[in-house]
């Protein structure tokens, strides 16, 4: 498992998606587009990628990225629903949920290595 290669792929993907977004929203401010793409990565790409690392031997990177995106969205939506009902205002969920997923993903990967 080549973590450096995958991280460089993620970095390249971020840059390319930013370029695409800036072309699509060419009338929009640079920093607004940058923040949107960063938000997408924070909410939907990184958490799912971290969790799907556990299956890096059976699933290739493109599949893990796309399924990870869906998984991030699923966990975010479900957790946010329940956290709101339990009393935590939704404005805090974007800090709690992705962080928890990324930590969980790293822990699972480290445990798997051991």
């Amino acid at each position: 498992m080549n973590y450096r290669k995958e991280i460089s792929v993620l970095a390249t993907l971020f840059i390319v998606l930013f370029i695409i977004a800036k072309i699509v929203f060419f009338l929009e401010n640079f920093f607004v587009v940058l923040r949107l793409v960063a938000s997408l990565f924070w909410l939907f790409v990184l958490p799912g990628y971290a969790i799907m690392l556990y299956w890096n031997e059976s699933l290739d990177l493109p599949k893990r990225l796309l399924l990870g995106f869906a998984l991030s969205a699923a966990v975010l939506g479900i957790s946010s629903y329940y956290l709101g009902i339990l009393g935590l205002h939704i404005r805090y969920h974007l800090f709690v949920i992705p962080t928890a997923m990324i930590i969980l993903g790293i822990v699972l990967e480290v445990k798997k290595k051991k």
Binding site: V16, L17, I20, A21, I23, V24, F25, F26, L27, E28, N29, V32, V33, R35, L36, S39, L40, W42, L43, I51, M52, Y54, W55, S58, L59, P62, K63, L66, L67, F69, A70, L71, A73, A74, V75, L76, G77, I78, S80, Y81, Y82, G84, I85, G87, L88, H89, I90, R91, H93, L94, I97
Partner: protein, 581 residues
């Protein structure tokens, strides 16, 4: 590498040459693999760019942030907007806000939660308004759905996957695009999770993968529940296909599915109880209607003919080839899934009605594999060796041709113009939370969800009553009106499993004659693009009210005037009405 080695054995000159040749070929092969990988990455990124451009660029006027919402063309879209806005403001999905619950504070929030929660999290993270992130998010989910279908097809054949891609563009063209513009947004979210679940279904044998699988399936339930039942139907079909055609039953798969089912039940349990005691209790049984050919839910129907005959014929031929492979027991999951979803989209004829029509919006994703199969078979006739570069370029060329041929021209802003939007925001920020607002005639008020944007108790004059009054040349005291609530039944919890329904128990009527002088604020459209006489009638009512001395104008822009009633219950209009000259 091919030189003499210490130890085992030494290469002779001939053997060294052969070795060098084999190493060279291996490097060459690796080089080809790297090139194919890069080529595919470039292809996918261009595909994403073209799809995003087609789906959102013009719809959003090439910007992300707007002073008033862009892209909302129907009430359903605006329903999603104000639900997101309410969640953004309140912070949770526990109860329906009183202004859309006839004043009750205990009405359980039964609307499908997934999309709103994703949207609001994105809004907070990006710093954009929920009205700006919502349509973008839905287009993005559609694009990622297409990519998920691509990787599913790729498991069958990489070239077929490349050739399937042009059909994805139809997601944002013709009647398919109304899924976004007319607001079938929760359906989109449900379909996104459905496709992701199907992709992961193939890998269920992997250790532990039933956990993310169960999470994705739970997400379908919370996003759009009918897609959940279609997914269950597909899983049954998938298992039956193996059992009946291949005479095998994968017991490991069945075991993993059973484990997933337990997890899904646990994750979704809280919302399942609400759903079956609200939506399903009120609408479920009546959703089944035989031979439905028109939608009674206010959205456009997509048809196979929306692909145009140039693309439909290849899709149908590809479908025929897939059917052949299915009966020959050689079908891939992507073909089985596509055939199933084609069938589901036609179930309106045998009772499923609107839910069946909705699945057609994603036919450009589901049926893409048939188009890819057709082109692949044609390619095999003319090309002895597959050339990934040629296939990629051809596929992108067809994609661009589709977009140029079918893209909607001249999309305007939508229903929510800056004048109404500004008036709604004023009402939201400058009036008491419990204020009752009465809306007289407006050109777009038949799409009445927008009247809930101010987050105030909203009642509006029904057009048939106004037309009759104008005909009679009178401004009455009582207007035939509709009081807006978010649902027809207003469920509340008596216990965890037991629900009551305020609207049914208290026999609340939402349409009746009302004394307009019992309201706190009045909204008048000063002009009309379609019925100038009704706008003039509005201004006449406004004049009478201002003349009574009980109201004063508190807001005005080019289109909208808002009066405040200083003494609700007094004679803002005389009891006997006013005769128009």
């Amino acid at each position: 590498m091919c030189g003499a080695r210490s130890g085992s054995f030494r290469f002779g000159i001939g053997q060294a040459s052969v070795c060098r040749l084999l190493v060279g070929l291996r490097i060459g092969f690796l080089g080809d693999s790297l090139k194919r990988e890069h080529l595919e990455s470039v292809f996918l990124l261009v595909l994403v760019g073209v799809l995003l451009w087609t789906g959102i660029a013009a719809l959003y006027d090439y910007r992300l942030s707007h002073s008033s919402p862009w892209g909302y063309f129907a009430s359903d879209a605006i329903h999603n907007l104000y639900q997101s806005q309410n969640l953004y403001d309140v912070g949770n999905w526990k109860y329906v806000l009183p202004y859309i619950a006839a004043g009750y504070a205990d009405v359980v929030s039964y609307m499908l939660p997934m999309l709103a929660h994703l949207n609001v999290n994105l809004a907070y993270a990006s710093g954009l308004a929920p009205s700006d992130t919502l349509m973008f998010l839905c287009v993005l989910l559609s694009v990622v759905s297409a990519l998920l279908m691509y990787i599913l097809i790729k498991d069958y054949n990489g070239t077929v996957a490349l050739l399937s891609a042009p059909i994805f563009a139809f997601l944002f063209l013709k009647n398919f695009y109304t899924a976004i513009t007319w607001g079938q947004l929760t359906y989109l979210a449900g379909s996104f999770f459905l496709i992701a679940s199907v992709v992961l279904l193939r890998h269920l044998k992997e250790k532990g993968i039933f956990v993310p699988f169960a999470i994705l399936v739970s997400a379908i339930f919370l996003a759009h529940t009918s897609e959940f039942f279609f997914f269950l139907g597909f899983v049954v079909v998938y298992l039956l296909y193996d059992l009946l055609f291949k005479k095998t039953l994968n017991l490991t798969l069945v075991k993993k599915l059973a484990l997933s089912a337990v997890l899904v039940s646990l994750i979704s349990f809280y919302y399942m109880v609400i759903f079956f005691n609200s939506y399903y209790a009120n609408y479920g049984p009546s959703s089944f209607k035989w031979f439905t050919v028109v939608s009674d839910a206010g959205f456009r129907i997509a048809y196979l003919s929306d692909f145009g005959w140039l693309f439909l014929l290849p899709i149908l031929v590809g479908f025929a080839v897939s059917l052949y492979l299915i009966f020959k027991k050689k079908a891939h999951l992507s073909m089985l899934f596509a055939s199933f979803m084609l069938f589901v989209g036609l179930l309106n004829y045998i009772g499923i009605g609107n839910r069946s029509f909705q699945t057609r919006f994603f036919w450009p994703v589901y049926l893409s594999v048939f188009f890819g199969i057709f082109l692949y078979q044609c390619l095999k006739l003319f090309m002895k060796r597959e050339n990934s570069l040629f296939v990629s370029i051809a596929s992108l060329a067809i994609l661009v041709f589709v977009v140029i041929s079918f893209q909607a021209r001249n999309l305007d802003q939508g229903l929510l113009n800056p004048y109404h939007w500004d008036a709604y925001q004023w009402l939201k920020s400058d009036t008491p939370t419990a204020a009752r607002v009465y809306f007289f005639y407006g050109d777009t008020f038949d799409q009445n969800a927008q009247l809930l944007i101010p987050a105030r108790f909203a009642t509006y004059a029904m057009n048939k009553g106004i037309a009759q009054n104008l005909n009679d040349m009178i401004i009455p005291r009582d207007f035939f009106s509709r009081f807006l609530v978010n649902a027809e039944f207003l469920p509340y919890r008596k216990s965890f499993f037991s629900f009551g329904y305020h609207l049914l128990e208290e026999n609340i009527s939402t349409e009746h004659l009302v004394d307009v002088c019992n309201y706190d604020y009045y909204v008048f459209d000063k002009s009309s693009a379609y019925y100038p006489a009704l706008a003039q009638y509005n201004l006449a009512i406004r004049q009478v009210m201002l003349g009574s001395g009980f109201t004063e104008e508190v807001y005005s822009n080019e289109l909208v005037s808002i009066l405040e009633n200083m003494q609700p219950g007094k004679d803002c209009i005389p009891k006997e009405g006013v005769k128009l000259k």
